[in-house]
Structure formats: structure tokens, C-alpha cells
């Protein structure tokens, strides 16, 4: 289990992370969210043992993370962290060996992963000759080459097309099913919603929301109603408690203050003809994120 206990990090007088705590169990995928400069990278670096917390501690299975346990960790950085002059196999051997693996084991695992990601033909290709998406795949492959106990993924889907995003998702879920602890960071909230059971949202180094995603969503009062059919937008907008009505083709998204408004909207909508859909849903994580973080995310 990964435990981040009351961790604070100061750079001089600047507080990058302020009293952050969370735990991630084996098999869980944890979302660490925040705008740029919120303290995610500092948190990752403290988890990796690259930075010493000013206060608090980070442990993996009760043991402080240092170079004796880093062989069990996989790390995918937000930006490409590949030595682009190397060939794919050389890069895998380079990072794999730094994880304490033997060359034979690295190449065996590399073959498996290259096949899985449909990249076997690139084994001896210099990384600089690969497309951005393929470079990202290689970065992911090198991060999981050691079947890590703890896997840190900082924006793993960057530069990937939807087809490859699915491939990544499957592999991440497979690793979680095998018992890996996965910490995940992304600006794409729909990805986080799909994966993470638990999340933390950081604002200026401080946690503003933390816990089970389903609980967070339930606690968040604002809801969305999705309607398909011919409705009178101005009539709906005038209902007390309706925040906004947006049109998407033949469908509408009606944002409401809380559950109590649902009945009022339903009473109005049922009078209209040709209504084929009326669905109440929790607010999306993106809405919760924007609401909590405020306009800074947009910036």
C-alpha cells in the first residue's frame, strides 16, 4: 500500500504541497488532479523519492521510498523522457537495467509489450524516427517493463489517438487487476472518471477534494438532466433552480442546482411532444473540477 502522510514541501518560502495525505491500495487506480503548478509534479517527485518532504513521509508497504525500492516503481513523465538517439530496444534495455532487470528478461518482456501495442516492427528503430504517438507508447512500455508494484502515470494519453487510448486503458486496467498501485494524473477528466476509484484535487498545493469518486459525485449537489426531444428552452430556463440549458443536436443538457429541481423540470418536459429521453445524472468530474478549481483551470 502507498501511504502519503501529511506531506508538506517548501521551496524556500514557497509552499508547493501543503499537508497532503492519501492512501492507495494494491489494485487501485488513484487520480491526482490539479491545474498546472498545483503541486502534482512535486508530489510525484516526493513519491518517487526524488525530493525529500519538508514534513511528513511517503511509504510503500510501510517502508520509506528510497533507492532500495525504486526498482519496483514505474514512472511515465508528462513530457517525453526518452533518449531519442537510442533504438527502441536500446532504450528498453537502458531503463530496464536501471530497474535492476537482466537484459534477457528485458528483451522478453519488450517483445511481449511491443506485440501487444502492435509495434514489433519498430524494435530496432531509433526513437527519433517514431511518430509522437508511437514515442508515447514506447515511453509507456519502458515504464511498465518491470511490471511495477507502483506505477505513476503523468498524462499518459498525451499525443495518442482514441484507438491507442483504448490500448493503454486495457493495459492499465490489467496491471491494476494484477495488483499494481497506480497513480494517475490527467487534464482529461473523462479519462480520470473511467479509471479512478479515488481522487485528490490539488489547488496551490492543498487538497480541495479527496476521497472515493462516487462519493464525491454524490455529495456534489448540482446535477445534469439529459433530454432528447422538442422542448421550449426559454420555458425550462425560467424554472427556479435551473442553471443553464444547452443544446447538442436533438438533445439538451439541463444543469440544475440540486435533486429537488428534477421534479419541476420533469413536470414541464412531460408536456412536450416526442420526448424520447429524460435522464438524471451526477455532475461530471470536469464540472466538479472546474467548480472547485475555478477559472484558473481555464487559464
Amino acid at each position: 500500500m502507498l501511504e502519503v502522510k501529511n506531506v508538506t514541501k517548501y521551496y524556500g518560502n514557497f509552499c508547493a504541497v501543503n499537508n497532503l495525505s492519501f492512501t492507495v491500495k494494491p489494485g487501485e487506480i488513484f487520480g491526482l488532479l490539479g491545474v498546472n503548478g498545483a503541486g502534482k509534479t512535486t508530489t510525484f517527485r516526493m513519491i518517487m523519492g526524488l525530493l525529500e518532504p519538508t514534513e511528513g513521509e511517503v511509504t510503500l508497504d510501510g517502508k520509506k521510498i528510497d533507492y532500495s525500492v525504486t526498482d519496483q516503481i514505474g514512472f511515465l513523465t508528462e513530457e517525453r523522457s526518452l533518449l531519442t538517439k537510442l533504438k527502441v530496444s536500446e532504450q528498453a534495455i537502458y531503463y530496464g537495467t536501471l530497474k535492476g532487470m537482466e537484459e534477457d528478461a528485458i528483451l522478453k518482456r519488450l517483445d511481449e509489450l511491443l506485440e501487444k501495442f502492435e509495434m514489433s516492427q519498430y524494435k530496432n528503430t531509433p526513437i527519433k524516427e517514431l511518430s509522437k504517438g508511437n514515442q508515447q507508447k514506447i515511453q509507456f512500455i519502458t515504464a511498465i517493463i518491470n511490471k511495477p508494484k507502483l506505477l505513476i502515470l503523468d498524462e499518459p494519453f498525451s499525443g495518442l489517438d482514441p484507438f491507442n487510448v483504448e490500448m493503454f486503458k486495457d493495459e492499465i486496467k490489467a496491471l491494476a487487476n494484477e495488483g499494481s498501485i497506480i497513480i494517475f494524473s490527467s487534464h482529461r477528466m473523462e479519462h480520470v472518471e473511467l479509471f479512478c476509484k479515488k481522487i485528490v484535487i490539488l489547488v496551490s498545493g492543498k487538497s480541495v477534494i479527496e476521497g472515493e469518486l462516487t462519493t464525491i459525485k454524490k455529495k456534489y449537489k448540482k446535477k445534469n438532466i439529459y433530454v432528447r426531444g422538442d422542448i421550449n428552452v426559454s420555458e425550462i430556463s425560467k424554472i427556479d433552480g435551473v442553471i443553464s440549458v444547452s443544446e447538442y443536436g436533438d438533445s439538451y443538457e439541463i444543469k440544475i442546482e440540486d435533486d429537488s429541481v428534477t421534479q419541476k423540470v420533469f413536470d414541464k418536459v412531460k408536456k412536450y411532444k416526442d420526448i424520447t429521453k429524460f435522464e438524471l445524472a451526477d455532475a461530471t468530474l470536469n464540472e466538479i473540477f472546474v467548480a472547485k478549481v475555478g477559472e484558473s483551470y481555464e487559464k
Partner: protein, 443 residues
Amino acid sequence: MKNKFKFLTKESLKRKISSKWFKIVNIILCLVIMAALNIDNIIKMFGGDFQEKDTVYIIDNVDGNVYDVFSSQINTSTSMFLADDNNYNIEKYDKTLEEAKKEVEQNSKIIVLEFNKDSENVINVTFLSKEYKDLQDMAILNTAINNTKVSYAMIEYNVNPESLAKIYENVKINRVFIDEEKDDKSENTNMLMTTVFPIIILPFFMLTIILVQMIGAEVNDEKTTKSMEIIISNVSPETHLASKVAAGNLFILIQGGLLLAFVGLGILVRFLSGSGIESSGTVGNYIGTVIDLLKGTQVFSQLAYVLPLLLILLITTFLAYSLLAGILAAMTTNTEDFQQLQTPIVMVSLIGYYLAILAGLFKGSLLIRILSYIPFISAILSPSLLVLGEIGIIDVLVAIALTCLLVFWMIKYGIRIYKVGILNYSSKDLWKKMFKSLKQKKV
């Protein structure tokens, strides 16, 4: 589990040595060094006017002995300017100057000297040639003509030929030293080493630059590609820097060895081509002269204890340069910044190099002696001063001790800058951050 330090060192070295450019540069270096050592043979191989000697026709309107006197004088004056004293064909010319003009018109390698009696200046000479002559030819011929005139003047004043020969003979100088350990051979070596040693030490300067560039470029490359994040999450910054230092020093050891091998190859080619090391006017001749002079001095006999000390000084200096390059590269956020930072390192090395040249001109200079203790400069300056007899073994030991202290300081405190620097991607308040990191034990 693999030794990560060994792996990183091997990878760094492999990346450098297996690169296409390493091979290309060394092939070029090999060819250039071999060509430099055999430049005279190469020039001769292509041929040209220089292979044909100038023919000097002597028209003697004085007394019929000018040819003999001038022939003797031209040999003396040629040997003053050139190693080869057989640079001209001297021939008697019995025809007139007008007839000689026709021959000169046909052949630019002919020079005609018409010697005439002169009531005021003993003799005068008409110098006839088709083309302009170069400075060297003019100097040799003018000296020979003037000496011929002096000979005639002495004969005119009844100085007999035996006395004349004695007059032209070099003065025997009995060189006496107060210090019995000193001798004139060492003095000659000192004079030569003043100019030669900076040339011998030149490869050290070159290797220093290669070392700084290699370590800096690698650290910078890993930092800018962000692969540093992955590397440092698996090995400590201390191990990482140590691997760079080890790889850098092994690389220059290999490069230095290759340079020596290229010199050896060049000399071998000289011998195989039948030129020998002693051919005139070449680098080979220069090296041969230096070795001959050194043989007659105490330098070789002192090598047994001087060489290990100088090697220690070189190794510690290379270590200091490597650590400095790594630390500075860690601080920079892009390749351009590192290139800027390289300049002061090169300047420091250059200062040492120039001081080594100046040391022979400013004998006994206290400033140069003090500077010879300063790390980085000492590796070039101390050996020069030691060979010149300006400093002793104790001074070299002081220079080694100071360099070791600097290496220790950089290992203890520089690593703190390195730890902060390698994960810093912002140039804002860079120096403030770095100075602050010096005080931090933990990052």
C-alpha cells in the same frame, strides 16, 4: 542485480565511442597527424620548382679566386639559415654579363653574380635574376657576398689565409656555472623547453576541452529530454555524476591513447618511407632534436619520480574538470546555456597554457609561481615550471594537494548543486537556487 554505476558508465562510453562521428573525427585526426609528421615527404611527392636547386653563376672580374671564396662563404651562410647546406649549385661563368642575361631569360633558376673591383668598397656585385627572390634567398646570398667582400678586404690588408680561417671560426665559449649541478646541456634544454613544452602539453588542453564537452553535453541531453527524471528515480545523483565522470575520463584516456597511436603511426610511416626522424625542417626533426637534448640532461633521470607526480596532478585535474562540467551542465536548462558556461572553463585552461609559454620569458616570476599552485591552471603550468627548473617537487606536491582539496570540495558541496540542478528546468533565480542548495544537506 546489475551494478548500475558500471552500467551507466559503460552506456555513456558506448554512446560516445560507437557514434559515427567519433569514428570519422578520429580517422581525420589520424590522417592529419600522419600528414603533419610527413609533410616534407608529401610536399616532395607532389613536386615543384623547389626540388630544383638554384644555380649561381659567378663572373669573376676581380682576381680569379672569387669562385673559391664565395663557394666557401655560401656554405657557411646557408647553414646559418637552413639545416641543409647544399642548397645552391655554384658555377664559374666565363662569358660576359650580357651573354648571361640571355641564359637567365630562358631559366628562372639561374642567378648571376658579377664581382667587380671597387676602389672605394673593395668589390661591388651585380646581382642578376629573372624573378624576384624570396627573403631567405636574399639573406643567404647577401651574407655570402658580404663575407666574400670581408675576405678580400682582409687579404688586401695582408691578413694571411690561415689567419682568415681563424677569424671565421666560431668562438669557443667556456660556459661556467656557480652551481656545480648545472651544465650547458641543461641550459640548452631549458631554452628549448620554453618553446617546446607548451606544444607537448597541447594535447592535454585539447583533451580537457573534449572532456568538458562530453560530460556537459550528456548531462544536458538527459536533462533536456527529461530522461533525467527516469534515470534519477532509479540511481542516486551521486552515482549518476560519478558514472559521467568515470565515462568522461575513460573516454579521454582512449582518445589520448589514440592520439599517441596516430603519432606512432606517423613516425612509423616516416621510417618506412626511408626519411627517418631526423629529416630537416619537419615536426619529426623537432621531436628528434628535443629527444636528443633531453637525453643529455637530467630530465629523463628525474622521470622516475617526476612522472608519477605529474600523472597524479593530471588525473586530479581531469577529475576536477569533470566534476565542474557535470555541475555546471546540471545548472543549465538548455544546450545554448551550457555552451556559454563552457567559455570560462576554456579560458581558465587557456590562461594556464599562455602562462606556460610566458614562464620562460619571466624567469623567477613570483606571480607565475603562485599561479602554478592554482587548480586547473596547475596541470599545465606546474610541469612547465618544473622542467624549466623554476619550481621543485614540493611545489608540485602543493599543486596536487590544492587540486585534491578542490575535488573533495566539489564532491561534498558540488553534489548538492548537482542534485538540485538536474531536476530544475527554470532559469529564474538560478544562481540564488544554486547558492541556497550549497547549504542544504537534503534536497
